[in-house]
Structure formats: C-alpha cells, structure tokens
C-alpha cells in the first residue's frame, strides 16, 4: 500500500525493521541490573507486616520480641514512625492515590502494611516481621461487590470516569424491535509482573537516591520529593529495566515511602522487595465489575441504542473506578449511546490502572452482548458488526484520524477461516469429539499522547547520543525508541547510543496508556530534527561546504550525510561539517505532545479484530483456546517484532482474563485466600497455542508526526469477548461471568 505520510518527515531505514531488542542479551545473561540486584554496602533489609484482616484496627504488636531477634535493627510502627511531610491521605496530583504509611492503627484492607522491620539480613527482618504477631480488633469486612451499596460515580478525572450520553436513550430503547438486557461480571485481578515491587533507597543529606522500577520517572521524582519536602532535583531515580509494569508501577506505593522513611531514620540504605503474596494488596489491581448492557436494534439490524452501566469496586477510602462503560464509546454506530459508571466501596486496596484499564473489562462485556444481539438478529457476528460499522465517531460525529478496522475484520476473518461458520451454536466437533466453537470481538483503544522531552547529541565522529528518561518495562522501548532516534539523524541504529531509564535525563514521560513510543519517540525525533536544522544552518553558512548557500532549502539526513532535499548531488558527511566547525558536539533538543486542537478535532483509536477458536470437552467441560487470530491497525509500526510480542502478550492476557484470573476473598477476614501463583492462575505454556497476530497497514497523518498509535494494551481488548463468544458457539451456553470456569459450564 502507498505510504501517504508527509514526505518531508525523515524516516530512514531503521523504523519498520523487526530488530531484536538491544537489551535482550543483557537480560538473558543476567547482566541487566534490576532494582533488587542492587545491594549497597551497609544496606538494611526491610520487611513489612501485611494485615491479615481487611477491616478493623491493630490492637497489639510484639515489638519487644521482634527487637530481641538477632539481626533486627529497627521496628517501625505507627507509634514511632518518623514524621512524613506529605499527607498520605492527600491527593496532591491527578494521578495520586491515598496510601498507607503507618499513619495510624487502622486496617483498611488485607495486605496493608501495619509495621515494618529492618534487619542486617533479609532473614532477620523476615523473622522479626513474623515475631511482631499483630492482634486485631476486627470488624466485618465488606468484600462482596454484589452485597455492596452502589452510588453514582462523580466524575473527577483519573479513577472517577466521566459518563457519556449521546442521542435520545429512551427513544433508542423504544425504537428497538429486538433487544438484549444482560449483565456480565468480571473478577478482581491483580497485576503480577515477574519483578515484584522493589526499592533501594539511600539518602545523602537531603538528596535522595532511589533504585526503583517506575513507569514514570519524572512524575515519580515529583511525588517522592513532595512526600519528603525536598526539591525535585534532589531526587535521583535509577530505573534502567522493569520486569513488567502493567500500570502497577506508575505511582508510588506506600511500602516504598516507608522504605525511604526508614533509610532517612537509620542513615543507612534500605532495600525492600515485595513478596509475591504482598502483590495482592497495596499495589493496585483491576477492580471487579458488574456491567449491565442494554442493546437494541431496528428491523434493519442497525443498533438503536447501546446503554452500558458499569458498577465497579473501589476501596473504602479512595476512588479508582474501572472506566469499563467507556469501552462502548467510539466503536459502534448506535443511534443512542450511554455510558454510566457506578461504584461501591469495599474493604480492599484501591484498584488502579491495569493493562487496558476500562477497555479490557468493558470490551469483555460489550463484545459478548454484541454477540447476543447478533444472535437475536439471526446474523453472523462479523456481519452484524460490519452492519453497525461507524464511519465517524458515534455520538460526537468527529472524524477518525484513521480507521482501518474494516481491514482488520476482513484480513483477520480470512486468516482465521471465519467463512462457513455455522450460525447456531454446538454445531462443530473435532476429530476427537470435542465441541468446537468460533467467536470474535472488536478491539478499540485510544491513542493518548503525553509530554516528553529528549536531547540529541551529534558527535564529531558522526555517531550520536540520544537521551530521554524513557522506560523499558519489557515492551522494548530501548530498541524501538533507538530506531526512531537513529532515523531522525539518518544514522544506522548501531551508530546511536541511547540512554534512558534515569531521572537525570530529559523527561521521557510516562510508559503507560500505550502512548510511550508515540510520545517519547516524538520527542526524540524532534531532538534529532533540531540537530539536523542546526547542522544545515552551519553547512549553509560555511563557504567550504558543498551545501553552502542552500539557504532556505530543507535538508535531509541519510547514511550519516546531510543532503539538500531533492538534490542528491549536494551532500556532505556530518563529520566534515562538524570538524570544520571545530569538532564540538552538536546538541539538539526536542519535545512532543499533542496539540489540543488536533485532540479536539479527531477521534483517535487503535483498532483490531480478534477471532478465537475454543474446544470444550462435552462431558468434562474443560476449555482449551486452540487458536487466536488478532488483526490490529495501530498506525505506523516502528518494530514489527516487538509490536507482535506486545500484541501476543495481550492475546495471552485475554486468555488469562477469560479463563483464569480471579482473586477470592475470605468472607470472614476479608483477606485474599489465593494470593500466590498456585492459587491465582494465569495461563501456562500448555494453555497458549495457535496464536497469530496480523498488523494491518494504516497511515495516520493526524495522530502525531510519526503516525504512531501504540500497541501496548489493545491486544487484551476484544480477546476476552472473542473467547466467551467462542465458548457459547461451542457449547450453546452463554456464561456471563469471567473467568469462565469448568463449574460454570457444568452447571449451565
């Protein structure tokens, strides 16, 4: 297909190449240093005591026993915890959460830190923490969403999603000749990156050095600085690699603040790494939802209404409501469209952003409801979706910046072999008699851009250094961003040194919202462009240069040479231009963000279509996902190999959401009884097979200069619904809860 992007944008030979991640060998050989690999001299090990009840207060801690244990140096409790400048109950920024840092003896959820022990060894601190043996005054925990009192969420930014209503909702319901009114449940899920949360904190006077994995270096520095009342420039964060983030490592958690406090109190470096079990509590999670969907169609099978009401759990003390109903905005051409968010307070840790927040849960319900609507219409699910294809953003009427969803549908269906799918369920069996079903779902994810800055340095030898505090959390940012950077200077990527993951670098923004490559990449591109601009001015002004006098002509950088655009006969190597100017480095800077007017003008989304095949034993009801084909349109793909990995990871998480992940609370104490990987299931290798990802060509001249939409989260979206729909198609049973388990099918 023709590339319709503006040709004046320099794009060299690096972007678009499936380069292997640059940090791969360091990671597989152990050379890559993750936070917990740092053990400074004189370090103290911190272990905190998690509450084993969900509501009440701590009535005693056996501090004497802990302090008496050999190797234990300090015990932090609410009684002696040093002063903290920042109010843990305040929410100083849009992305702040209330946290627990031993401010009092109240227990608000199981897993909350109620004390912290420091020791000369991890073992001593661990045993000290056990010896504290807290006792509690316990109140009945509220951990059942179905028994909670719902309220309307008051819109207020992050965690308090705005509803939306377009068109006449009542009229849409009245106009329906057929309708569905169904409620889907999703379970509490807990981010469990391979690397659990960790921190190594060290003070030098009022300067704070942190090794801590963070998805947002600059934002984290500001947050830590405000907690400890020091200038933001006094905080240094080293975060070269993350062993996964998934939204959990975007904001400071209470245990990290405690570790920093402990370091200041003791005057020694303090190291804390959460156990796997501790990842089920103070580190955020994907809140459970109950989503009612009311859909209607007219005689022509056009949607008259999508009415999406989502009830989601949040904590008793803070607001993060899964913005699930928002998933119904922007996708299907319904005459009327409403998204409503309601909340309920439980004695749980505050939920947070977990990979594809809102869209993952919302799409699971929406795509199944769409399938039910298609069934009522007597239509093939794909045909029904194409029938209701939105050419402009429903409700707002805004044009899409680009939308290759139709290509996703058609290419995905072709690859999967969707044609010939029987309409009715329970029609297909494989050679071993297993019930076989095919289902599909549409994927939609917004393309936000944040703000980022970068610096480019062209060296006299013609090589370059790029710097930005971008974050590689496993997605491959160190590689994809280096490709963008190299292209901005027309250099092979091997001639480019790329530094990221440290707060001393220009602000690389947030690795979240699937917007990191677009944002940090845009800043790098701008920084490189700034260098080229300066280089062009130098050459044009230099009588010794073949480019002398090129004046207003624009310049193009290729293969380490500067060309007059459109005149390949006039060029000069970078190194020659620089050496005549004295051989000093040439430094450029750049930033990227989205102009508000563009944001207002266009609806911007990545799209996709996911097709699933499942097999179900007709008697034993065990389910296996045997094939998943996902076709995605996400603008320009910088690195197809890394993008495919992101999308495949999303599909796998879709399996996990659809069939496995669910935290169970003890109704008496409120604690999570399956808080480990034996009880909290994610798919194993044997559950993951037949995955295929297609990326559909898409040029987007509006979304940002580089045409990047992002692939970090969209792979989950659509997949959950596709699997649920395939299970219905295989068995004839419509299970309206996720995860779908053997007993659900057995009881159906």
């Amino acid at each position: 297909m023709p590339d319709t992007l503006d040709r004046t944008i320099r794009f060299g030979s690096n972007s678009g190449q499936p380069m292997t991640r640059r940090d791969g060998i360091a990671k597989v050989t152990g050379a890559a240093t993750f936070t917990a690999d740092n053990t400074p001299d004189n370090v103290l090990h911190a272990v905190y005591v998690p509450a084993t009840i969900a509501r009440g207060r701590v009535t005693s801690l056996d501090v004497a026993a802990a302090e008496a244990h050999p190797g234990v140096t300090h015990v932090l409790t609410p009684a002696n915890r040093p002063h903290l400048h920042g109010d843990p109950e305040a929410k100083p920024t849009m992305f702040s959460f209330r946290i627990e840092v031993l401010q009092d003896d109240t227990v608000r959820y199981a897993g909350q830190p109620v004390a912290m022990v420091l020791g000369e060894t991890l073992e001593a601190a661990t045993e000290g923490a056990r010896l504290l043996a807290p006792t509690y005054e316990m109140a009945p925990p509220r951990v059942d969403l179905d028994r909670a009192e719902p309220y309307d969420v008051e819109p207020g930014g992050f965690g308090r999603p705005t509803g939306a209503s377009h068109g006449d909702i009542d009229a849409g319901h009245r106009a329906a000749v057929k309708s569905v009114d169904v409620t889907y449940s999703t379970a509490p899920q807990y981010h469990n990156a391979m690397e659990t949360h960790a921190i190594v904190a060290a003070w030098d006077g009022d300067k704070l050095h942190l090794d801590v994995p963070t998805q947002a270096l600059s934002m984290s520095c500001a947050a830590y600085a405000s907690f400890f009342d020091i200038p933001v420039e006094n905080v240094t964060i080293n975060s070269p690699y993350l062993g996964g983030g998934f939204g959990s490592k975007a904001v400071p958690i209470g245990p990290n603040i405690l570790a920093i406090l402990a370091a200041r109190m003791t005057g020694r470096p303090v190291k804390l790494m959460l156990t796997r079990q501790q990842m089920f509590g103070p580190t955020g999670h994907r809140g459970a939802t109950r989503q009612r969907l009311r859909l209607g169609i007219d005689e022509d099978a056009s949607l008259t209404v999508i009415d999406h009401d989502s009830l989601s759990e949040t904590s008793s003390f803070d607001d993060f409501h899964e913005p699930a109903a928002g998933a119904s905005q922007g996708l299907y051409a319904a005459g009327a469209l409403r998204s409503v968010h309601r909340g309920a307070r439980l004695d749980i840790g505050t939920p947070g952003a977990m990979r594809a927040p809102g869209e993952a849960s919302g799409s699971a319900a929406l795509e199944c409801a769409m399938d039910e609507m298609a069934e009522a219409a007597g239509m093939d699910p794909l045909e029904f979706r194409l029938k209701n294809y939105a050419e402009t953003e429903p409700g707002t009427g805004r044009p899409y910046s680009s939308k290759a969803l139709r290509d996703c549908y058609l290419q995905g269906a072709e690859r999967f072999g969707w044609a010939g799918r029987p309409l009715a369920p329970r029609q297909m069996r494989d050679e071993n008699g297993l019930l076989t079903g095919w289902g599909m779902g549409t994927a939609l994810f917004p393309c936000p851009m944040f703000m980022a800055e970068a610096r480019a340095t062209l060296r006299a030898d013609g090589s370059a250094l790029f710097e930005t505090s971008a974050v590689d959390m496993g997605q491959g940012a160190l590689t994809a961003l280096a490709q963008i950077a190299a292209d901005s200077l027309g250099l092979p990527v091997d001639n480019v040194e790329f530094r990221a993951g440290h707060s001393s670098l220009p602000d690389g923004g947030v690795a979240g919202g699937s917007g990191h490559t677009a944002t940090a990449g845009g800043a790098l591109h701008a920084a490189g462009s700034d260098v080229i601009r300066q280089l062009g001015e130098m050459a044009a002004a230099d009588p010794a240069s073949p480019l002398h006098g090129a004046g207003n002509a624009s310049f193009v950088a290729r293969h380490g040479r500067l060309y007059v655009d459109g005149d390949d006969s006039r060029s000069e190597p970078f190194a020659d231009i620089l050496s005549r100017a004295g051989g000093a480095d040439l430094v450029g800077s750049g930033s990227a963000s989205r102009p508000p007017e563009t944001a207002a003008q266009y609806a911007m989304y990545s799209h996709g279509a996911v097709f699933a095949e499942v097999k179900v034993d007709p008697d034993l009801c065990q389910v296996q996902v045997t094939r998943l084909v996902g076709a995605f349109a996400a603008g320009r793909i910088i690195n197809p190999k890394l993008a495919d990995s992101q999308l495949l990871g999303g599909l796998i998480w879709g399996i996990s959401f659809a069939l496995h992940e669910e935290a169970h609370h003890d109704p008496v104490t409120g604690r999570i009884v399956n808080a480990d990987f034996a009880g909290y299931h994610v798919p194993v290798n044997a559950d993951v097979r037949g995955l295929e990802v297609l990326t559909v060509h898409e040029d987007d001249p509006h979304v940002n200069l580089l045409g990047i939409k992002g692939v970090g989260e969209i792979g989950i979206v659509g997949t959950v619904g596709a699997i649920g729909n395939a299970i219905w198609h295989a068995t004839g049973h419509r299970i309206r809860r996720f995860p779908i388990r053997i007993e659900d099918l057995l009881k159906a």
Partner: protein, 340 residues
C-alpha cells in the same frame, strides 16, 4: 530467619535417632520448604534424608513386587521405561503433577506425604469455605469442609494396592497407601496415620499390579492445562480376558482427604463386557454417599463424569506412548491399543 537444626544422617538408624519433637524429614523439599517460607510450618530440626544409603533404587523383588526407594525422584520414576511400561497410569499421574522442575526435585515419599493445600497457608482463615470450594472434599468427611489430598501419584498407587514400608523406633511395618491418609480432627491434626518419628523407607507395588498395564489410565480435570491441582481425577485400570473384564480397579482423586478407592464399583465391573452403560453404573456407584459443601455440588457430577471417562479410556487401552499432555482431557488421542 527462624533458627533450626539441620542434620544429615548417613544411616537410617542415625536418622531415627535424630528425631525429636518438632523435627521434620526433608526429602526434595518442594513442599516442606514452601510451607516453612509461608510460616505454615516451623520445624525446629530438619533431618535431611538425601544421604541415606539404599533408598534410590527401583527394583523387582523375588516375589514379583516392585519396590521404589523413598528417595527416588518423581521424574526418575515416571521416566523409568520398565516402571512406566508396567505401571503406565502411575507414570501418567506423576507426569500430570506440578512442573518439570518440581518433579525433578521431589521424592516419591515426599509426594505421598505432601500437605493438603489449605486456605490457612496464608494466614488465619476463619471460613473454611473461603475461596475455591472446588478444592474441598465431597467424600469421606461426613459433610465437614476439608481439603482434599492433593497428590496425583497416590491415586493410582491406591488403585494398585501399593503399600508404604515404614521404619520407626519400634521397628518396621507396612501400611497400605489406602490407609496412609486421614482427615485431621480437632484432637488429632495429623493428615496421615504415621506416628511422628516414623520414616518411609520405600513404596511397594504388589506382583499382580503389573497385570493391568494394557488397560490403565489416569485422567485429571483441572482449571488450566498444566501446573494445576486436580479438580477431580481418576485412576482406572482393568484386565480384559475374552472380551470381559476379569478385574477392574477404580480410584478417585481430589474428592476426599485421601484417594478414594471404590470396591463396590470394582466388584460391579468384574465379569462384565466393557461398555458405556456398565461404566456409567460404576461411576454412579463411585460417588455414592458424596455430599457437597459450600455449593460444590457440581464437583460430585464432575467426579462421576471423570470416573466414567477414565474407565472408558482404560478399556480402550493404554497408549503406546505417553500422551504429550499426560492425563489431560486434551491428551493426544490413542489410535490403537498399545498392548492388544
């Protein structure tokens, strides 16, 4: 850390002498060390058995029985060609459990002694029905909530009449694996009938056990395809002579605090022509007396279906090769019986 003694005896006598109240035998450590880390158990002395001589062999005794030393690894046993050929459903059961790494480290004696997966592992559970009631017993508890025995290995062992050779301060004794596990009570929290200080020397399969090799299957239904404990499982085997079942064995797993062998069903099958109706009747009998707890009625139904399928698979014959996914509902289907 909690201090404990670590002793490494080099003879059984030394090991027995090292026992004291609060001690624990250490085999592969795959279960015990986990429990120590979570604080579920806190032995004051670990007696490492890895240096004991003469406990790593798989041998056929003069009377035709097969003796497996207590320290034989799970993987080693399942991958022993002679053993797997004679006791294919035992091998299949082992390979359906845990992960490759764990099976490599775990010993056979440790496997039969593994602790039920109880909710209080992570703290004081006040409601025994908390969480996934699919893991609670429906047989052998008179309706009281109790964790099931989690071992896959024990299920075919019980079906085949295996015994555990025990040594203790008072000498040696044999216990049938069928009598090894018990439901803990308020007065007696033990999960097994071993007396503290007794040590497993070996497991023994009786001579007749190999006679079932041609029709012998283990089936395990679980929430994911691998690395999950069974929701329900069944070991089924039979000798088929002249088209009739000469003898059958049926033991259910993950339904009771111990493997649940069903003599009534076995008796019913004897002399019958293998077929869906008689298997259905046997499976029905196998769940006789089952009682749901915490809404897990479905589990009784699933166990019955599992028993029926396992009988059906066993009648069809042992596959020539171990399925790619052992004991799985989705295991490679056999085309021809391996031992026609």
């Amino acid at each position: 850390m909690r201090p404990f003694d670590f002793v490494r005896p080099t003879s059984v006598d030394e090991a027995l002498a090292a026992w004291e109240d609060g001690a624990a035998w250490l085999g592969g450590g795959t279960n015990l060390v986990d429990l120590m880390k979570t604080g579920a158990v806190a032995p004051t002395r670990l007696i490492d058995l890895s240096r004991l001589p003469g406990m790593r062999g798989i041998e056929v005794l003069a009377d035709g029985s097969t003796r497996i030393g207590a320290l034989v690894g799970n993987s080693e046993l399942a991958n022993d060609p002679d053993f797997a050929g004679n006791f294919p459903m035992v091998a299949e059961a082992i390979l359906s459990g845990a992960s490759g790494q764990i099976r490599n480290a775990a010993t056979v004696a440790g496997n039969v002694m593994q602790h039920p997966r109880e909710a209080w592992f992570h703290g004081p559970a006040s409601d025994p029905l908390a969480g996934d009631t699919g893991k609670l017993a429906v047989l052998g508890t008179d309706g009281a909530p109790a964790a099931v025995n989690p071992s896959d290995f024990c299920v075919p062992l019980v079906a085949l009449g295996a015994v555990v050779e025990i040594v203790g301060p008072d000498g040696t004794r044999d216990i049938p694996v069928a009598d090894l596990h018990r439901m803990p009570t308020a007065d007696d929290p033990r999960h097994t009938t071993l007396t503290p200080g007794e040590l497993i020397l070996a497991l023994r399969l009786p001579p007749e056990a190999a006679g079932f090799a041609a029709h012998s299957r283990y089936l395990k239904v679980r929430d994911r395809t691998s690395f999950a404990f069974a929701l329900t499982s069944a070991a089924a085997c039979m000798r088929i002579e002249d088209g009739k079942i000469a003898e059958a064995r049926l033991t259910l797993g993950a339904v009771a605090p111990r493997p649940w062998r069903v003599a009534e069903a076995e008796d019913l099958l004897k002399g019958q022509t293998p077929g869906p109706e008689v298997f259905a009747t046997a499976a029905e009998l196998a769940l006789d007396g089952a009682r749901a707890v915490g809404g897990n009625d479905w589990k009784i139904d699933l166990a019955r279906r599992t028993a029926l399928r396992a009988l059906d698979m066993a009648a069809a014959g042992t596959p020539a090769e171990m399925p790619a996914l052992p004991a799985s509902v989705f295991g490679t289907q056999r085309k021809e019986p391996a031992h026609a």
